[in-house]
Structures are given as C-alpha cells and as structure tokens.
Point group: D2
C-alpha cells in the first residue's frame, strides 16, 4: 500500500471509475461528492467518506477533482468548506476536470499561497477508458508536482503527457476537443449532403473512411451510432459544447482569430437548442438532417 | 494485349502516370494533351499521339479524361474538335477529373445522343498513388458501363467503388475533399491556438494524433510539412479550393445548408489570396500563423 | 410619341408595371412572356403582342428584359427563337434582370457579333417603385448605349446611375442585395437575442432604430412585418437567396474572400429549407425564433 | 442647485464630458479616476476630488461609473476601497459602462445587501454626444431607481429609454453594438468586392447609401473615413470587439445560437490582430483590402 494518501471529489460517470482504479492501485482514499449515494458506494469498496471538500483535503496528499464546469472547480476549491480550507502545505490538487487554462492558473495561484500545488490533468478516453484505466492524461504543472503525482496518474491512464506549466494540460485537451467538434460536425455536413445527393450513406461512409477525409470521429460516430440511428449519450452535446466554448475562450485570451471554432460552437449550440443537448455528440447531425429532409441511416 | 482500345486526354501530374499504367496493363493507347512535350514522351513509351480530342475518341473504346476544371471537361468533350465529334456508338468516356455532378450529367446527356456513355471516376491518392497504380476510384455511371470499364480502372487503382448513377462518383469525391479541407483547416486553427497558448507544437500534435481529435489530415500535414516548415506542393491550395467550391455548389443544387463548408471555402480563398495558392494545402495554416504572430514549427 | 420602339420580355411582378410605364411614356411597345394572360392584358393597354423573344427583337430598338434567373436570360437571348435571332444592328438589349456580371459580359459579347449592344440595368425599389416609376436603376454599359437608353430608363426610374462598363450595374445591384441580406439577418439575430434576454421587442427595435445600429432593413422589416407576425411576400426569401448566391459568385470570380456573405447565403438557405422560401425576406427570422423558443412580436 | 449629490468614477474620453455636463446641470460632484490629471482638471471646474471609489460613494447619492471593461466595474465597485465600502443605504450606482447583463446583476445583488441600488445605463452617441449632452441612454433597473436617477440622466442624454429590470439597458446597448459591427463589417465586405470588381467606390457607396442596403454605419464610415483613408480613432476596433464579445456572451447565457455575431467577433479580432486595434472601427476594412489587393478610396 502506498504511503501517499489520495482524495477524490466529483464521483460522476468519469470520476467514480477513476477513483476506484486509484483505490485498487493501493492509495488510501477519502472521497466526497454532492450526491451521497455514490459516496456510500465508494465507502463500501473501502474508501473513507468525507462530508466536505475541506475534509477530503485535510486527509490527502493528492486531492483529485473531476468536475463538470469551471465554476464547480472554483466553488469546490475556493468556496465555503472548500479544498483550500483543509489543504496542507506540500499537498497537490490533481484536477481531472476539463476547464480553461485561466481558471487553472487562478486556482493554482490561490493554492500556492497555502503552500500547496495544482496540476491540471484532463483526460481523454471516455467512460470506457476510465473503467479500464487506459485514459490519456494531459498534464500541466511544475515538474516536481508532476513527478509526485505520476504514480497516481498511471493508475488511471495509460498515456500520461506532461504538456508544460499549469494550464498546458487544459490547452492540449481543449484543442483536442475543438477537433472532435470540427471533425464531427464537418463529417455530419458532408454525409448529409452526399446522402441528399443520392449516394448510399454506408457506401459514402466506407469510402471516405478509407480515404483522405477520414478522422477518428468518422469511425466513432457513423457505423455504430448515426447509421443505426442511435444517439444514446456516451459523451453529450452539452459537454462538448462546453469544451468548445472553453477552447474559444482560450482564443479570446490569446488573441487568436478562430473561424471554424467559433462557428462549430454555434453548431453545437444549435443541436442543444433543438433539444439534443443530452444526447450523444453524434446527434449534432440531427438538425442538419431535419433541415435537409434526409436521414443518414443504413439502408 | 487487351482488345479494348484506350484513349487519354489530360496528361498532367496525375494523368501522365495513370496513362502509363493503363498502357502497361496492355491497353492500346492513343493520347492528346494541350502541351505536346508530354505527348511525345508518351509516344516514346509506345502510345499513339493524336492531334485533337476528337481524334483520340475516334481511335478508342474507353476515352479517359483527367482535367483540372469543369470548364476544361466541357471544352474537351463538347467544344470544337472535341471528343463528341469523334466518339463512336458504344464507346465510354471515363472521366477521372474532379468536377461537379451537374457537369457530369450534362456531358453524359450529350454523349448519350451519340450512342456513347459517360462514367465519372474521380480518384484519390495523389501522385504517389497515380504512379503506383493504387488510387481509390469513385465511380458514377450505369452498371454495364462500369463493368466494361472495370479492367481499365483496376489498372490505375486498387480500390474501385461503384457509388451509383452518373454523378455519384463526383459526389463521393467532393464530400471527401470537403472533409480534407475542414479537417485540415480545423487542425491548423487548433494547432496555431495551442502553440500561441504556450504548448510545444510537436507535443501538441503527437497528443492529439493519438487521441480523439485525430484525422488523416493531421498525419499528412504536420510531421513532414508544417512542423518542418515545408510547403512544396503535392496537392495545391488552388486545387483543393476548387474542389471545395464544387462541393459547396452541390449544396446549392441540392438545397442543403452548409455552414462549415461555406466557411472553409473562404479560408482556402484566404490562403490563395495571401499568395499561397500554388503551395501545398498545408499552407492554409500560414495566414493563421501570420495573424497570430506564431509559427507551428518543431523546436 | 417617341420614334424609339421598345420591346419587353418578362412581364412578372416587376416587369408588368415597368412595361406599362414605358408604354405610358410614349414608347411603342412589343411584348412577350411565358404566360400569355399578361401579354393579352398588355395588349389591351395598347401594346403589340409577340410570340417569341426573336419577334420582339425584330420590332424594337430597345429590347427590355426582366427575368428571374441568369439561365432565363441566357435562354431568352441566346436560345431557340431568342432575341439574338431577331435583333437588328444598332439595337440595344436593356436587361433589368438581377444576374451576375459574368453572364452580362457573355451575353453582351454574343450580341456584339450581331452589331447590337447590351446594358445591364438591374433595379431597386420593389413593386411599389415599379408601379410608381420611381425605381433606382444601376446601369452597366457603353456610354453611347447608356445615353440612348436613358429616356426609357427615366420612364421606369427616378435615380439612374451609370456605374461603368457592362456588368457594373449588376455588381452595384448585387452588392446592395448582399447588404440587404446581411443587415436583415444581423438584425434578426440581435432582435431574437435581445427578446430572449427579456427586453420588449418594440422597445428594442425603436431604440436601435434611433441609434447607431440602424439600417434600412430594420425599418422595412420590423414595424410592419416581423413585429406584427406578417410574412406575406413582397420580396421573397428565394429571390434574395438567389441574389446573394450571385454576389458570392462575384467574390469567387474576383478572388475576394467573403466571410459574412458566404454565411448569410447559408442563413437564407436555412430559411428556404425550413419552408419559408416563398415568404417575405422578413421570414429569415423564423428559424431563429423557433430555435430560440421566442418570437419577436409586438406585445 | 440640486439637493442630489453626484459622484463620478472613470473620467475617460466619454466620462469626462459626461461628468462636466452633470456638474453644469447643478449636481454637486465628487470624482475619482485612476489617472489623477483629469481629477485635478475636474476639480478646477468645481468638482470635489476623492482618493478612492469608496470615498466618492461616501459623498454621493448617485454614483456614476464610466469604465471600459466588466472587470473594471467589478474592481471599482466590489474591490478594495471600492464603492461598496463607502456607499450608504438609499444610494444608487448609475453605471454608464458597457458591460454584460450578468455582471450588472451580480453587482446589483451585492449592492442590494448594503441597501443600495444599481442601474445599468450604457450610452450611445460617442464623444460628440457626450460633450453635447445628447447621448442616448439605455437603462435597466427598478422603476423607483430609474425615476430618481432621471434628472441626472437627462443632463447627459437627450433620449432616455427605460428598457426593463437590471441588465436590460446592457442588453439593448449590446444588441445595438452587434448591429454596428455586423452592418459595418458587411459594408466593408461588399465595398471591397464591388471595388475589386471595377466599380468606382464613391459611386458604389452613394448608390447603396440611397438604396435598400443602407445603414447608419455606411454613412458614418465611408464618406469621411474609409473613402478618405482616415482611420483616426473615434471609437476603436478594440472597444467594439469587446462589445461584440459581450453580446456573444449574452447569447451563450441565453442559449441562443448566433451565426453572424460569432463570425463578426472574429472579423474584429482579425483587424485587431493585424495591428488595427487602436484605430477607428472603420479600419475593420483594412485586412480585407490587403487580402483583396484593392483599396476603397475616393479617386
């Protein structure tokens, strides 16, 4: 059993299996969560339940977060009963949440005043990767903090990338998400048009997938989801829209004009506003199908 | 040696090696081209030189075209001394050019009046694939014409897809090109932003390339071209801009709203107007780099 | 009565009142139209009915056209029984249609071979201006042709602008239409957002209309149409979409990157595809209202 | 002389003349500003100089703000030595700054806890209107606060609009600014294209300005600025970019898809990144001119 004690706040679809993998790897684990059911569940696996983020922080060397929005991270770390109230000098906040680099730097600055450190460590790989412990982890933070957190990171991920100082992990993750959105929305547009123009959607998909227009998102979204008319959420339109919005915010902060990115943000907003926010990102194609009067389904 | 006689008009970067492969496969070959040097060259390999498209048509059962723009196809087939003046009943025009489906249908209609047929057969795979005979060929046309042309198509390509009636090959090719443009321009945007935000470009590329934001165009354009600052044309900005414009025209004909496609057409226009029209498509990143004041180069 | 004889082909919503004004101004008038009812109607007012465009051309010094699309102009002038078959040396085609400058130049070139001239003379001012004879006419063509056509132009319009050589009138008209589309679609976006954010639509309209965000299209579309929920066609979404598409084509020909223009073309395509193509251009706001779940109506 | 005492914080290009007009109208005036020179100047006109926002607040019934960015408002009101530290129950913060409605509501909420009120009162009309006291003022806030502030508002503006509760004034102002940006950038695009296509820019401007494509921004930007090649800042690209970004943020908060707005934000970012951030908003045309290789100047 590791001497390093871990904490985990945010036991959602991603956080719960990640926390379990950390626990299985031998890290003593204290957890907290807004909903208490999952806390009890983790406790039944041997974790210690805490009432507040501050209490988690008081009992951990590495305090992991996995929260949906920047505002949640700010609240859980800096708010009342937040991590910052319990954290001890030398501890490290390991933030698996996908948030913007400016929030990362703000939180890191505040923790530094307590003698603690912060690394942003957003992940890629979905719930499947979270369960299997095969996530890609993109890390921003000081080298020594990275080194100390590495064994824990390796318990949740297979590929761990140290991208640079605080915020760099967030930037890499957000740039990846931008391309998820662009490649997917682009494929949706081309597949709807090709189908409306009379080509069989499966043939169209297979030809492009074997040619120069291929992308990871083609394979993820068409054969098993769109072509079958399945839009059950693995990763929702709302969550990707949030990521894209954060990426576009990076462009605003960095003074970089973003054309496709700004537009794709609105395309996911369209899918959300048309009622598909809680469906899988594949559903971004649905407003396009409706407008074109054609469906991209296997025949 | 095949009894089927072939003709080839348009002996450019793609057409010349394709014509050679057809000849090597045993098809007696008659050729014509605007520039005569390459005609003489082909003749030295055993092809028969013709003075006009009409003359090529008079000596061939399968008349291949590989021309840059729809206007060239219209001129070579329907113009003075065009294919239509020499073509014989039962012959087939095999059009490897990337043009729009409406031009395909127009030309097919006119040839039908002469008792001849037309198949659109645009290719993917670049000059490398043209030389190696490993192109992907996307075919639109009647089944019997497709069947008769298949042996010739197999002499230039490895994957031959019969996509549907006349124009369907063009649609598949154009949809692929749309995604080439969107995936590449999207990657350019994200890579410029991530680099400006302080992440090492090579690390950024490698992380995204192994994650869910990956695309064929990432691998094609970053390691060997953009990260090394090389923009020598394999496939030029001008040609991809043309393809995207044709794809957007399909959207206009089919009454399909196209957001990312319409924008990416203008992004390639920007690269062209900034002086990069004859450079490789990777150069679409250069106006973005200039505006952001950062270059996405390996360090 | 003028010695100059006029012809008029295309007696639609705009053409009919324009032809009547030309007739009232004293020009002997020969007319033709696809639908014969309106020809009979004009004949009852004293015009001479002709069976074909060629026949109109044979009896006129100034042959006016007012047709919906470039393809109609090509067909009526260059097609079978077209103007070009009847036109005499020295005659002038006065084209009130809104078409692209490249079509203007093509037609002018062909007429020149017959010793005839062409001026593009698209109009602005709607059916109200057409009836009142108060249109703005934007003219492209040689000075002498312009001078000879001027009295006729003055019978249909109040402001006649000689914009330059053949095609220049078309360019001015299309640039105006581009701004009609952008200013209107922009206003629609801002009014929907402001209304969704809780501001009374009438107050919002009146404040912007008296401030720096005002445009001609604000006044045209909000008080009498959108705020009252009226979308009866005065000028339809389909027609403006056509104009914008032609303007974007000018950008392609001229190698000018167009961002807002390319996007607004798709926004009008969206309105058309959502079923509002035959409604007034004000209906461009309807898909935005539906998506936002709010209506910009006076309360 | 009014019994109501005024305070003013933020004596920039707009704030200084507005403060002078309030003073001239008879309101006893206490002022503060980051730069002290202008404070001394106002003092020489009879105003009382204060060292901090808190001190201004302690001496005023109506505390006016005119600050560039939301962060400045938050700092001046809520930060150390901020207005909130000195404000007394019953006082009203009158915020002339152009900021987002969410910041307005946040600040209002915090002031309410002190028994004070907040109205957002952004203005339109530029420095000319600020000097002349003829601004348009768009007000959000409770009716009683509006009523009490009205005499002061009338000393700076001619048209005072009560748009609704706190934040409504901000929404109206931002929607207006969105249309300033869209109408101007649209006009820039059309004028560059028309000029490149060969039409004289002055003729093109004058024709559109008298037709249906006209907008307030046409008249503001072309005759005196762009056509003369003058880009001296009256209202800068940077400031309008900020306003548009805030308007697009309203879209994000309200769940309204924004296509033209999102794009025009990037078009102003382009002008900024190309080095025109401190020039007048008319300079948004300059990157377009450069790319097209043509200038829209009177000949």
């Amino acid at each position: 059993m590791s001497a390093t004690r871990a904490g985990f706040i945010g036991l959602g679809k991603m956080g719960r299996p990640m926390a379990l993998n950390i626990h299985k790897a031998g890290f003593p684990l204290t957890v907290a969560n807004r909903s208490q059911a999952v806390v009890a569940d983790l406790a039944s696996h041997g974790a210690t339940a805490a009432a507040t983020p501050a209490e988690v922080a008081a009992h951990a060397d590495l305090i992991c977060l996995c929260l949906p929005m920047p505002a949640h991270v700010e609240e859980v770390v800096l708010g009342p009963n937040g991590v910052i109230e319990g954290i001890r000098p030398g501890a490290i906040v390991v933030d698996f949440s996908t948030i913007g680099p400016s929030t990362c730097r703000l939180v890191a600055e505040r923790l530094k005043a307590k003698g603690a450190q912060y690394i942003d460590a957003p992940v890629s790989g979905g719930t499947t990767g979270a369960v299997a412990g095969t996530l890609t982890v993109m890390v921003g933070g000081d080298q020594d903090a990275y080194d100390r957190a590495l064994p824990l990171l390796q318990s949740v991920g297979r590929k761990i990338v140290h991208a640079g100082p605080v915020g760099a992990g967030a930037v890499v993750k957000l740039m990846n998400q931008l391309l998820v959105a662009i490649n997917l929305a682009g494929a949706a547009e081309a597949m709807v048009l090709g189908t409306k123009a009379g080509v069989d959607p499966t043939l169209l998909y297979e030809t492009i997938a074997s040619a120069t227009g291929n992308s990871f998102q083609m394979a993820r979204n068409f054969p098993d989801l769109i072509l079958k008319g399945k839009f059950d959420p693995m990763f929702s339109v709302n969550l990707l829209h949030k990521d894209v919005a954060l990426a576009v915010d990076v462009g605003r902060e960095q003074h970089v004009r973003l054309l496709l990115s700004a537009l794709v943000q609105q395309i996911f907003a369209e899918a959300r506003d048309a009622g598909h926010g809680d469906e899988d990102i594949a559903a971004v194609i649905r407003p396009l199908e409706k407008l074109a009067g054609t469906e991209v389904r296997a025949r």
